[in-house]
Amino acid sequence: MKNQSYNTMLISVAGLILLLAVFPITVLAQGKQAPAASEEGKALYDDKCAHCHGIEGAGDGSAAENLLPRPRDFTRGLYKIRSTESAQLPTDQDLFDIISNGMPGSSMPAWSELLSEDQRWQLVAHIKTFYDGFEGASPRLIDVSGKVPYSEESVAQGKEFYTNLGCVDCHGVVGRGDGTSAPDLTDEWGFRTWPANLWEQWNYRGGSTTEDIFKRFIGGIAGSPMPSFISSFRLGLTDEESARMNELELKMDNDGLSEAEEEEYAELEEKLFMFEDIMLKVEEGEELEPDEQTKLDTALKPIFEKSWHLANYVKSLGPEERPQAAVGDKVLRSQYRAGALPGMNDEAWNEIEETSYFPLVGQIVIDPRQFNPSIDSVMAKSFYNDNEIAFRFTWDDRTKTLPQTDDETGETVEDALAIQFPVKISEGPTDPKPYFIYGDRNRPVYLWSWKVAEPTTVTEMTAKGINTATVQSDQSPIQAEGVYKDGQYQLWIKRSLTTDDKRNDVQFTPGVFIPIAFSAWDGSNGEVKTKRAISTWYTFVLDPVPSNKRFVYPPLIALISVGLLFGLRNSVRRRQNT
């Protein structure tokens, strides 16, 4: 056995050397090639992939219906994540990488731990059999050699392109996927699709390195609304020429052009089309003359440079890793503050550096369920003083949905948040908490219910089960303010630490770990009642009040100590004297 694998290795090495000698370097740059399709590949596919992607690769496996994004239909040769240019097939290596690494933010898992490398290559070969176009195809790679290093200046330039090239239309002004075109987007199969929330880099399907971002920008995301943006720039024109064209076009639409200007415009356009013609020849699969190739390379260089700036900007937006949930040392601590608590937009909130992060998942315990919630987390900060507690909750939502009728269910849907506490805080670890979704008969929960239609109202509710929330007859005074901006809600809530209604309301006591949980509804995602995003129980604590006694006890102890020392010294002296 050992010998055999040694032989295999020898043969592979020999084969590799032969390959290196025979194939030009460009072929190698595409990475490894898949083996011929085999029975083994098909068997593996049927076993591991067909449940979602379907036996015939049409993306229609038995599990497909409840998945969003949908599993890919392989029969049209449309692959989202490619290292190749617009309207090109992926390389074998691209397919291998996706199988190996999975697609973050989707249901596609990483198979590298579960399948051997050979098995994954067999899968690549089988997947290619679903689309005829792979035969004889040699997709063109995106040139990533001109990478512009990350810098403040590059990010600033990239931001300008982000704003001016139309990224904002779908991804929104600050990039949370909340652009004005976002609510209407569908993919080429007619399924609902959302633009990426660029702040959540851990959800980027094809990875979040600057190179990954650059490739998506140049190559587009096939089958989705995300186009290639290489056409955004005027190929072959200098920045000055391009600016002049803008000027002339504006004039053309308003006052009209003089004869000389018309001529000037025609010349600029001719130059642009000359370069575009070379580009189109490449896209149409024609061989270029050497001088044409040089011209194209020169013309593309500044465009690629601009695209790297844009990639650097997108990269600058958020952390790569999903924040750690609010447990352990990340637990939410309400901070004590003498005097008035900060209002919604108070600078004081910045004093708390880290926002506590509460992940949400879909409610799938009872019908109607939510398998694909769009709100994936709530974040929180909190302050309290001797009488009151204030929270500031934030959560991302790509659309602000005021009450409206859902097309599918006929229900009235709207954006909303509920913050949940147990009515009675459990005493010690053996005392069970209420059921994590809206409590149970024996252990009710106390809710703060907020809805977008009344952004300054929080209603107190009591729930004794997943579907049994009732508005309390006795409402404690609670101040609230909710605001939606750039794809994010911010909700400020203030209540007194204790209330009169001790039977139904949670009482906040410093130093006690208090369970907290969330429910969030995105109206535009058809969410209402039990169809929502939920969290499990987390705990938070009102940091113990820094005691005034610290000014009393230490000096007192010091005084006593000094007194004792004196006493000791005197008694020793006395003894010596006697």
């Binding site: 001016n164 189109l280 129980w537």
Partner: protein, 259 residues
């Protein structure tokens, strides 16, 4: 610990549970045109003409007004309506493709023709575009706002490129295979929708605002005459046989109803 177990359990249930369909979607299959296996271009003399009118059967359906959800200052200057059924005089049906299914040799495309599609005011014009295989299409954007040209081809590679306000004219690469009609969309303005048919020979026509069409310079012979209309479907399973005499003129009308 317990909460962890619950979370894992709920996730497990999520993986196994198969509920009724939640997401709407899955466009219905678009009927395609019928193309000859091969086509040879030659000069045609003494060709005949096939012309006629395509009528819509029944009362004109209401042309649904499209909701302009963004860039209203540009896109909302004029009202936009669903263009799947557009009727003219005598219920003449616009935007129907009428064509010869089985012609294998005949005239070439005019060499000087330009193929354009305008996006003015956030509406594609024409709504149905015939584009010869091997010819480039010029997309025009006089709106000074961002559009994207998304062509849902499947026989040819699908296409999706951005055309911002600074790209007044953008040429789209030629394709190699006959296909279509395929959908054209602008994802930025979700209501913008049109069709492109990549055609291998020139014997295709799109009906005008009064439902009229003409196929000229048809070599004498007997042909299968087909139609395609986005809302009424096609007759590819039951085409009409027409015989064209040298220099003659044939009239063939169609009456179409909603699918």
């Amino acid at each position: 610990m317990k909460t962890k177990v619950v979370t894992i359990l709920t996730l497990l249930i999520a993986c196994v549970y198969v509920a009724s369909a939640t997401a709407a979607g899955g466009d219905e299959e678009v009927e395609s045109l019928v193309f000859p296996a091969s086509y040879k271009a030659m000069s045609v003399s003494n060709g005949g003409t096939i012309s006629g009118m395509v009528k819509f059967d029944g009362a004109a359906p209401e042309m649904k007004k499209l909701e302009i959800t963004k860039d209203a200052q540009v896109c909302g200057k004029t009202d936009k309506h669903d263009e799947s059924i557009v009727l003219g005089e005598g219920n003449g049906l616009k935007n129907t493709i009428v064509y010869l299914m089985d012609i294998s040799s005949g005239a070439d495309f005019p060499s000087d023709a330009k193929y354009e599609m305008d996006q003015k005011g956030c509406q594609f014009d024409p709504h149905v575009r015939l584009l010869p295989v091997g010819k480039r299409l010029t997309m025009i954007n006089p709106d000074r706002i961002n559009h994207n040209v998304h062509i849902f081809s499947s026989v040819n590679a699908a296409f999706n490129k951005s055309q911002p306000g600074t790209r007044r004219k953008m040429n789209v690469k030629a394709v190699k295979k006959a296909e279509g009609p395929v959908n054209v969309k602008c994802d930025v303005h979700g209501w913008m929708q049109a069709w492109i048919a990549y055609i291998p020979h020139p014997y295709f026509a799109v009906t005008d605002e009064n439902g009229k069409y003409t196929l000229e310079n048809v070599p004498p012979g007997t042909y299968q005459l087909g139609y395609w209309q986005e809302a009424c479907g096609s007759n590819k399973d039951a085409p009409v046989s027409v015989t064209v005499e040298a220099g003659g003129a044939v009239t063939q009308d169609f009456t179409l109803a909603l699918k």
